[in-house]
Symmetry: C4
Subunit: 355 residues, 4 copies
């Protein structure tokens, strides 16, 4: 079977992964309406493509907080990559580095940050943080990441509690015995690891904007906040001095009924007024989705599930295939829309369909 | 089979109830478009969730006309609970009391008000009234309810005649011989009980707003009017001195083609201007539906069919399961939307999708 | 099988009629989108029902140009009733008279006007006219109808040529040998009757508004024009002195892509400003559809295909069943919407859904 | 099987063509959403038909840049007609000439321009040009076409690179050995013909508006630019002195996510303000689609896939069948909308549905 577009990787993963793992990656909260809206919303955006512009030399590079990447697609933080491929996050790191883009490693990795760093030396990586009730755990993680050369700290803001994913409950999802949340080994007492590999209630639901100052006190890394969906919170992010926002609804896995990220992007970009960078994850399935997100003001997008499908297909190599397809499709979409470089992409390029 | 969400109870009830009973509970009028709209309308409302708010201590309690309940979900009045479970309304009363919420007992109960009151002493209950042509029957019911400690009188306003429910006609629906409308025994002459357990045309289609004054003369109980769908009627309700409104279309069983209750809620809340409490029933299937209704101004919602599914599953215990699931889902939705108590829920939390 | 609603009659007719006859009655032009829109459009109109109004005495009568009918539903002109029932239009006339409503007999009847008149003496009937190239034919028809006691002349305006109904072409539709367009026997030369029972091109596509004056010169009957869909034409109708308009798209059988009649009704009613009566046909399938049409300004509606389904079921008796169901449903819808008589029905009763 | 409407030809072609050829003709880019939107968009446009206008004499002729054609439908440029019928573009030319309309021959024809011209002497034809990196190739083509009597030069503007058509990639689409891009034989070095019959990257992606002046220097033919979708580009087209615009998205084969052509037509027509002629291709499937396009300002439409279906059915004869059906349907739609000649068609005839 030819791997022509991302749906081919999705079909492969669905067929070859154990059901419990597929269900975990695919899961959305409740009725999965937000998960599905993330994708449907792109179909309501129409291009206004421009013709007869010289697109013989295409430049699809961009910069994330000053660091150049080969094209505006990075790897979003997702957990448990060993569920998709034995080498887990080490493969992810190698693929991202080979393709010269940014990989946001998750707190919930099944490899240590040290293993990740060693797997692909010199790679451009950010570290994603959940704040635990035991703040010492979080502090130690941040400082380990900084010491290992991670270049940004991504704070996930939308998970004070875990969303209700029906299939995981039905499946009684838990990590297979040979997999561990390796970065958190020894961090918690007792043996109960029933909540996605951690003791129940280990995350801190009392985190507020003031904790940005606490994080700032721990590290020199730029702070990017992930999970913002409203202009009010976007303004608060700017006011609290973070360096970037990832517009995200956690792949539709947290509050079902929230907006598609591409819809929320518009009000966040307007609120931020260019003061900090805005990124997006959720629903990116083809090159033209990337172009739409950039046209609406995202500096870069991140892929979650498609990266896992790539890993499930052929590990590092499969993820590179996924990235390469997106890269080719994005370049082609830009050219067909009349843009020779990302700096030519703008709001004029799209309109919202009235449907 | 794990009972994870309300759809699981629905599937169970559909599978295990006699078809004639399932059809009766499921029925909508005519093409069932209003029944189905009640549910679809929630999908067009999007949350605007707020992040990084301290949601470590959640308070989901509210008050109905001053009486505290454990969370803003009560049991709507529905008839014939013995069709779902042998103990009928006694089980309903026990479950509601165990969960510390309000149960609106129907005129069309298959247990007497006395049995209901005795089944769960001290429970918080309202009594739902249809006004009969024989006003003495209605007067006696109201006064019995008040004497038994029911704390509110709910007048159903949308049933001057019974809606046309095609399946009931095809099935020749009637109560099994061992079930009776026990609260109305001896109230009517003759043997014909062909209209849902009553003689034909026993309800009074001449009831008007002036009859509120008549009800007021019969009882000291607060009067809540059920079935209001327009701002004009909401204003009349305020003007006639009732204490509350339940925005309801009778589960889509009366006039097909009317609005979804969540859509009608907006104009009713605006018209009432906070002078009396506004509740809603219809289409509540998960915790986030409750949150949407509260964000649009409902003080509380009531569940009809889901309560019957719970009864059909395991009687009192099954209904508690249903309520507990809704409670957990509601608490989680609130937290994920950034609200630690119901007082923080407001209009800012939702927007209507343009779709 | 119980005959509970009009869909039951439709299913019966589809099952029992010869395919060629069913297809002919069911046919729409081209892709049938206007035919289907006629029905779908009702689903986008929502009631704003009013509660607690005395609906104990219901009056559903109305008047057509001064003549009282039992409820605001008449029989639209459709051709070839013998395809549905052996007695054809004689049965139709009897049913309409028995139910005390108006029957518009078609030029394309398979019974003579004389037979129709004799079948139900004293019935309230209008005559529907196509203008033929041979004007003498049309003149003679109008004068026969007037002499026979028909009380109105309905000019069909939307058929200068016959619409393209694919199934009729595929089926090679033609009348069975024992059926004739009886009112036109002897009117045309030659033997070719290939266009729906007439010689090709016998209708006159040069008819214009000036021909209203010609019709006026032929008869004292009130003239009703059928097939108007725009405000411009509605104004022309008023200016040319007709007595009524039937908003119609010929059941979606002529120009595919035109508006649903219930949508077009709004602009026609506005344009007419109450100067003449406005009626509607197309898409009426239940009592609440009638209520919506009246709320939007129609004085009365006419049913086409449902009348044929009733005939196909049991002739005169079946059509009475259809009318009785509509009558009951209409009365109930009115009551549930809070209207005790047709004079209380108004624009306030409905709103267009944004969907 | 009767060939009643264009869908019948589509079904025939799908059944009888080799899958690889059918897929190539049917292909859209990526998810095919723009391809499908081209058709769906017509369903959202409603006629406002006018009645009682004399339509006994119908005149459906129009003119393209001064040359009369029998009705406002021409043949859009599509490649590889021999995939549909052995005689290829010679049959196409004969059918177009027989029906007295315009045929735009593609650069990617499988017959030479000389063969095309000889097949139907005196036919009205335009030549469609892709500009190659080797400009001498393009120059020679233009001058050959002019010398052979082609009356217009159509520059395709939306293909700096070929769109991503998944099925062609899966099928490994290439021309069968006995077919050649005959007009380009000898034009390129080497043997690689893997990109739709040409060497990879032979088209010039650096073409800009300035190249219009270069084309103008090569030929006296009027220049028509194909692929414009925005008002900005429409204004540029006027400013650069072209004679016509074809609003086109290449049948949805280039940038997926662009607008339906019938939607884009509106803004292009407004921008052009009547200074040059505007045409459209994409999604025309029945006569009423043509009427909608003309009502929105197109001077003429062109058919792509339907022409190929006609060829696949019976070559020249099949294509004439297709054109004749469209002609009959268009004439009928005009008459039913109240227009006796194309000059009576205007914006007043249509409205956009709010759906």
């Amino acid at each position: 079977m030819a791997m022509v577009c991302l749906s081919d990787f999705e079909a492969y993963a669905k067929k070859h992964l154990p059901k419990i793992a597929w269900d975990f990656f695919a899961a959305g909260a409740d009725d999965c309406s937000t998960r599905d809206e993330n994708i449907l919303a792109y179909k309501r955006i129409r291009f206004r493509p421009r013709m007869l512009r010289d697109v013989s030399e295409m430049d699809i590079r961009t910069k994330l907080l000053g660091t150049e990447i080969s094209f505006p697609v990075g790897i979003a933080p997702t957990g448990f990559h060993q569920l998709a491929w034995p080498e887990g996050e080490k493969s992810t790191a190698r693929a991202a580095t080979a393709m010269n883009t940014c990989y946001i490693a998750s707190t919930y990795s099944t490899c240590t940050l040290e293993e990740i760093a060693a797997a692909a030396p010199g790679g451009f990586r950010w570290f994603q943080l959940y704040i635990h009730r035991n703040r010492a755990v979080s502090k130690q993680l941040v400082q380990r990441a900084e010491a290992l050369g991670f270049q940004g700290l991504v704070l996930t803001a939308d998970l004070p509690y875990t969303g209700k994913r029906r299939d995981d409950i039905r499946n009684g999802f838990c990590l297979p015995p040979h997999m561990k949340l390796k970065n958190l080994e020894g961090a918690f007492e007792g043996d109960d690891r029933s909540e996605y590999g951690l003791p129940p209630n280990s995350l801190d639901p009392s985190v507020t904007w003031n904790d940005i100052y606490w994080l700032r006190s721990l590290t020199h890394l730029p702070i990017i906040i992930k999970g913002i969906l409203t202009k009010e919170d976007a303004e608060l992010a700017v006011r609290h001095g973070v360096q970037g926002i990832i517009v995200s609804n956690h792949g539709g896995r947290q509050l079902d009924g929230g907006p598609a990220t591409i819809d929320a992007l518009v009000e966040v970009v307007e609120a931020v007024q260019g003061k900090i960078e805005v990124y997006l994850d959720g629903g990116i399935r083809k090159g033209s989705d990337i172009l739409k997100a950039l046209a609406l003001g995202a500096k870069c997008v991140f892929i979650g599930r498609p990266a896992l499908w790539g890993l499930a297909y052929k590990g590092e190599e499969g993820l590179q295939d996924v990235l390469r397809i997106l890269q080719d499709e994005f370049r082609l979409s830009m050219a067909l829309a009349g843009c020779a470089s990302v700096s030519e992409i703008g709001r004029h390029l799209v309109q919202f369909s009235k449907l």
